[in-house]
Amino acid sequence: MASLFFTSPIDLDIKFDDEESRKNIEIKSKNGKKDNYFLYKDGETVNGTVRVQVKDGKSVEHTGIKIQLFGTTEISNGQKDDFLTLSHDLAPPSVLNHSVTYNFSFKDVEKRYESYKGKNIIVNYYVKVTVLRKNSDITKIKKFWVHLYSNPTDLKKSIKLDIGIENCLHIEFEYSKSTYGLKDVIVGRIYFLLTRLKIKHMEISLITRETVGIQPNQLNDSNTIRYEIMDGSPVKGETIPIRLFLGGYDLTPTSKTNQFNVKNYISLVIIDEDGRRYFKQSEIILFRPST
Amino acid sequence: MLVLAIGDLHIPHRSLKKLLTPGKISQVLCLGNVTSSPSTLEFLQNISPDFQLVKGEFDENTGLPLSLVITHGSLRIGFTNGYTVVPRNDPLSLLTLARQLNADVLIWGSSHKVEAYTLEGKFFINPGSATGAFSTEWPDLDEFEESREEVKQAETLQNGNKEDSGNDEALAAKTEELDINDNGNENSTDKDGYDGEHIHPKEQDRPVHSVSDDEEEEDGDDDDLYSTIPSFTLLDIQGTTITLYIYTYINGEVKVDKVSYRKPLDED
């Protein structure tokens, strides 16, 4: 903001060390644009350089230069919280009259949360360089993105359900797993033991639900992907396959923190000819597999 | 114009063979012996609406005339069954009848022998029996012996069998194919001043097939051996000229002979 009114006497530029080789991630911003961020994982060292450039041979007096690394949550109610703050001094107080480049390194940074941009909460990571001055500090931040990878061990566990409406519908269905990687495929089948219901179609919904805070001030949001898996009404004995590729969707791994959590559900929805919906929802765990 | 002269069908008493169905025929002169068979009568009447009939010996209807004369221009054609001509088939008595009827042409039947000749400027036609019906008149001695001889041959040859079935159809079909006005017909023997001899072809080449099928005994005999040759005649009348087509059915084939007649000019 300050830069709009004052011409800053110095330019700050942050560069991560391996920008050429580091993975990039594209994130939609609010205005629909897409921003690119470098991607880091948990425990990874964040190092780089800060270049301080003095304009037009001016000399700038400062009381020190520091570099910080933040992990923050922002809730839509305005509440902010830094869950991670790391700081290093880059230079003692002095006068700058030429450009200087400083190296920085945050070693093996523990990153508790994934970067996240939900409706009610945002999880951000960034490094911030500050040139401390008597009047106004000059700062520059650079965001980066964090993915947390995991490889759950209980992948094999399938979901099997036997549900029905008395004298009307009886189905058995099965998803081969309850835990899926983000690029995984949900495979399953539905077996119709009884169908008196005139089914128009059947779909599965993939629901991502974020919950922020605790009752009674809890904020909820969910995002649903709908996928038709059956057209028309099967007869008794029919088996309908389920297959849903997850890779094409922008999904969030299941996560749980003190402040918020993200849960994923798969819901089998049957819509009858009169438009009534019958569904059965089951939670699934989504994770980001390490590659 | 075409006039069909036909007679002595004797269906069903004496024969089975059916007739022809030529088109183009404007008049049918029937010499009788048909009235026992409504189907035959109907058949003849269908050939041409102008159907003229005289009484045959075996016709029961005593109301029928014994003879009739029809005219075509200056030509007068008389016809009669022939059983009331005495002596039967005698040229001179036929001539007498022709004179009595004032006929230029006299058509008669009952002998079941096809013939045509000119005598004293008049034309005499016997169309024979269209069905090849058996005749009780004297058989032609030579031919009779000949056919009896053949019967004997057929006996010695095992199961003499003539292959062509449906003789009747063949006759009808062949007849339709022939263009009556076609003078270039191969079979026609153009004899002006025909000498009055009987037209009785004497081909000997009767096909005899030996048949291996052991069950064939119930058929194969050729009725023609016992019967008269089926025949009828067509008169193509142009002014005072008549071209007579004689159709005979011999050995499974239709043969056509042609005889011409022109009425002599009146002398005064």
Binding site: M230 | S36, F58, L141, A154, E217, L225
Partner: protein, 764 residues
């Protein structure tokens, strides 16, 4: 269901709207395909037009219309993918199109990409096939599912691997699923629209059947596989679906598309299947189709050794089956008839000489005919009876069938008669003779109903029917053995005397005459003549006077020709008796006399004495006729009895051969005739008769009868002239005709003068 409630107009509007969308989106897709790097957009447009196939309110025909347009559009896409591989990695694309949210468009796209994918080298063909067919289960809506699977079938048509059995399983699976959908269509919507559904399903059946056609076209399998795998699977589905339309149609398709040889070898399976069908199925039709198919196969392939194909007796097997069926089912006669008809045909073609098979069928029908009520319209066995008539090498061979006649006679009289007439016609059109007793008995028993029909209405139809029996009689012939021939005739007479002999006896009579003529020396000629006599007498007894007269005369004529004078004399005597005692019509009397004269004049083998007796009597009868002109003419005709002339057939020749001639008696006859003519009351008639006598005179004059002199002729001419002159004064117009006849006669005399100088003496 709500969709059935919309009006046809609305339906059509929906269709037109859909077509517009498809066309628009197809164009958009085409443009994208033509530009670089816009495949994703193209797919989006494809998905858009495919969405139209989610329609649920169209009739099957309308839906089919959409399908056709969509098919063409997808063809464009498929062609593009084929041409641009490997730019667009097909395996990725196969996954990509699966993100389509709606299942119908998704599966069409999947199949489109998948089938192109299958064609590239090293593609996981088997997996793709399996995946596509499995995923198609998601569409359970009958019409949409049917077309989707039809699309799968069409797309894979030319690319299924030929070297293994997966392809067959693939098609069979698709067939089973399609059939289930098709059957289910019946149960959609309100039950009052059942018939409409049935009609719609009828329109869609070919989609299901096409799978079986496809299988039949593959060469991947052998008979063994067909028998152990393909057929049982298909049959199981057919039985399980319990649907009448499906069962009838699909079994028929099986019968039509797979090789007949297979059917022969899997007959048990097919028959078992038919047994298990829904009771409402017209299984007879299927069964009949099967039999007819086999029959035509044998006919077509001209297979003579059935054992080459089937190691069992086909007829026996099918026959057992029919009997088994018969125990469970109530048959209408006409249904049974169809069944029996086709098995009969099969036997006639497979086992042409096994008459016992046909007898078995006929016996079966006989038992049924006794139990059931037959009627003239439908419930009878006429077509079954016609089957052997039409299919035996000769219709006459039906006589080899022992039960034929019994079944025929069990039919309602009208049917029996119609059939008999048909059979009779067929026989008559054959070149065929009745030459032994067995044949004769067989045939005449067969046609009993016609023979014994005494309907004496005497209408034309009746006469025509009886005429056919007459024709049948003419088929009696045995040239090798006179005795047999004569026995045949006697036997025929025995059969015929129960019927209307008026129509049939004359045929026997002439057949006998013919036999005599050609076997004049035979020992049995005498008995044959006696036989003929009996025939005539029977006819006479039922009042056929005229006919008896003529037949006697014919007998007289022929017996003279073969020199049996006594017999001939007897026949003439019979003629006279009939004439004298029974012929009363004057016209007939005259004609009869002329007939006798004609015949007598040509006899050759009488002794002088007998001949004199006969001709004198004849002349006497003539002179006693009622009417003067008849009398006159009979008498001048009778003159010829004393003046034999040549019969060229006998080789006789005027001037060489000897003839019986008595000129004096001739003259006496003519004189007598003249007197009768003169005695006529009507002078014109007298003149005409005078002229006729003049002509007779000229006849004898030419023949050289010296009793007929020039003087006599001149006298006659003068007499005529005088009479003409005297009448001319009366101005009688009736005179014109005789006058002209007279003139023609005189003209004739004049022309003869040039040839014959004797004529020159005749005056005028």
């Amino acid at each position: 269901m709500t969709e059935t409630t919309i009006s046809p107009e609305e339906q059509n509007q929906l269709l037109q709207d859909s077509i517009k969308v498809i066309q628009r989106e197809t164009n958009a897709m085409r443009k994208c395909l033509e530009s670089k790097g816009r495949l994703m957009d193209a797919l989006k447009h494809a998905s858009n037009f495919l969405t139209e196939l989610r329609a649920s309110q169209l009739t099957p025909k309308q839906y089919y219309e959409l399908y056709i347009i969509v098919y063409d559009s997808l063809n464009l896409l498929a062609q593009f993918l084929k041409d641009n591989h490997p730019h667009h990695h097909l395996s990725d694309l196969y996954e990509l199109v699966q993100y389509a949210g709606n299942i119908v468009p998704r599966l069409y796209l999947m199949i489109t990409v998948g089938t192109v994918y299958m064609t590239i080298p090293d593609a996981p063909v088997k997996e793709i096939m399996k995946d596509m067919i499995e995923m198609c289960r998601g569409v359970q809506y009958p019409i949409r599912g049917l077309f989707l699977r039809y699309y799968l079938s069409q797309r894979t048509k030319t690319i299924l691997p030929q070297e293994n059995l997966d392809s067959i399983q693939f098609i069979i699976t698709n067939f089973i699923e399609m059939n289930k959908l098709w059957v289910r269509l019946q149960h959609q919507g309100p039950s009052r629209e059942k018939d409409k559904r049935l009609k719609e399903r009828e329109e869609l059946k070919i989609l299901v059947g096409s799978n079986l056609v496809r299988i039949s076209q593959l060469e991947n399998y052998d008979f063994e596989y067909y028998k152990t795998d393909i057929l049982p699977t298909i049959i199981e589905q057919i039985i399980q679906c319990k649907d009448v339309l499906a069962q009838e149609y699909l079994l028929d398709v099986i019968i039509q598309v797979f090789p007949d040889e297979f059917h022969l070898k899997t007959l048990d399976e097919l028959l078992q299947c038919i047994k298990k069908l829904n009771p409402a199925v017209d299984y007879k039709k299927i069964f009949i189709n099967l039999i007819d198919r086999l029959t035509n196969f044998i006919k077509r392939e001209e297979i003579t050794e059935l054992s080459d194909i089937a190691d069992f007796n086909l007829f026996d097997k099918l026959w057992d089956y029919i009997k088994e069926f018969e125990l469970i089912n109530e048959f209408q006669v006409y249904e049974l008839n169809l069944l029996l008809e086709s098995i009969t045909k099969l036997s006639l073609i497979f086992y042409p000489k096994k008459y016992e098979n046909i007898d078995l069928v006929l016996r079966f029908a006989i038992e049924k005919a006794k139990e059931l009520e037959l009627d003239e319209q439908k419930e009878n066995f006429s077509s079954l009876l016609l089957m052997p008539v039409d299919n035996l090498s000769k219709p006459s061979k039906i006589l080899k069938l022992q039960n034929f006649s019994e079944l025929l006679n069990l039919q309602p009289a009208k049917v029996n008669k119609q059939l008999s007439l048909i059979i009779l016609d067929r026989l008559l059109s054959q070149n065929f003779r009745i030459s032994n007793l067995q044949t004769l008995n067989g045939l005449f028993s067969l046609f009993k109903i016609i023979i014994n029909d005494k309907n004496n209405d005497n209408n034309a139809n009746y006469a025509n029917e009886q005429e056919k029996i007459g024709k049948l009689i003419h088929l009696i012939s045995n040239k090798k053995d006179v005795t047999i021939h004569s026995k045949l005739l006697t036997q025929a007479k025995n059969f015929l005397n129960g019927g209307n002999i008026k129509f049939t006896y004359p045929s026997i009579f002439f057949n006998t005459l013919k036999l005599i003529r050609f076997n004049p020396e035979s020992q049995i000629v005498n008995s044959l003549f006696k036989f003929m006599s009996r025939l005539i007498n029977e006819l006479f007894r039922i009042g056929l006077i005229e006919l008896s007269f003529k037949l006697h005369l014919a007998g007289a004529q022929l017996s003279d020709q073969i020199k049996l004078e006594e017999i001939s004399y007897e026949f003439f005597a019979q003629c006279f008796t009939v004439y004298e005692e029974s012929i009363s019509d004057s016209r007939l009397q005259y004609q009869s006399i002329v007939s006798i004269i004609g015949v007598l004049q040509q006899t050759r083998n009488f002794t002088r004495e007998n001949y004199d007796t006969l001709i004198t009597k004849t002349a006497l009868y003539g002179s006693k006729l009622l009417k003067k002109p008849d009398q006159c003419r009979s008498v001048y005709f009778a003159s010829h009895l004393w003046w034999g002339v040549e019969i060229p057939a006998l080789g006789e020749e005027e001037g060489i051969s000897e003839f019986y001639r008595d000129g004096k008696r001739v003259l006496e006859c003519l004189q007598r005739a003249l007197r009768v003519a003169d005695a006529c009351m009507d002078s014109v008639v007298s003149i005409e008769l005078f002229i006729e006598i003049l002509n007779r005179c000229l006849y004898y004059f030419i023949h050289g009868n010296e009793n007929i002199t020039v003087k006599y002729i001149n006298g006659l001419i003068e007499l005529i002239q005088t009479n003409v002159d005297s009448l001319a004064e009366e101005n009688n117009t009736n005179l014109e005709l005789p006058k002209k006849h007279f003139l023609r006669t005189l003209d004739y005399i004049n022309t003869q003068k040039e040839i014959d100088e004797r004529f020159q003496l005749i005056s005028r």
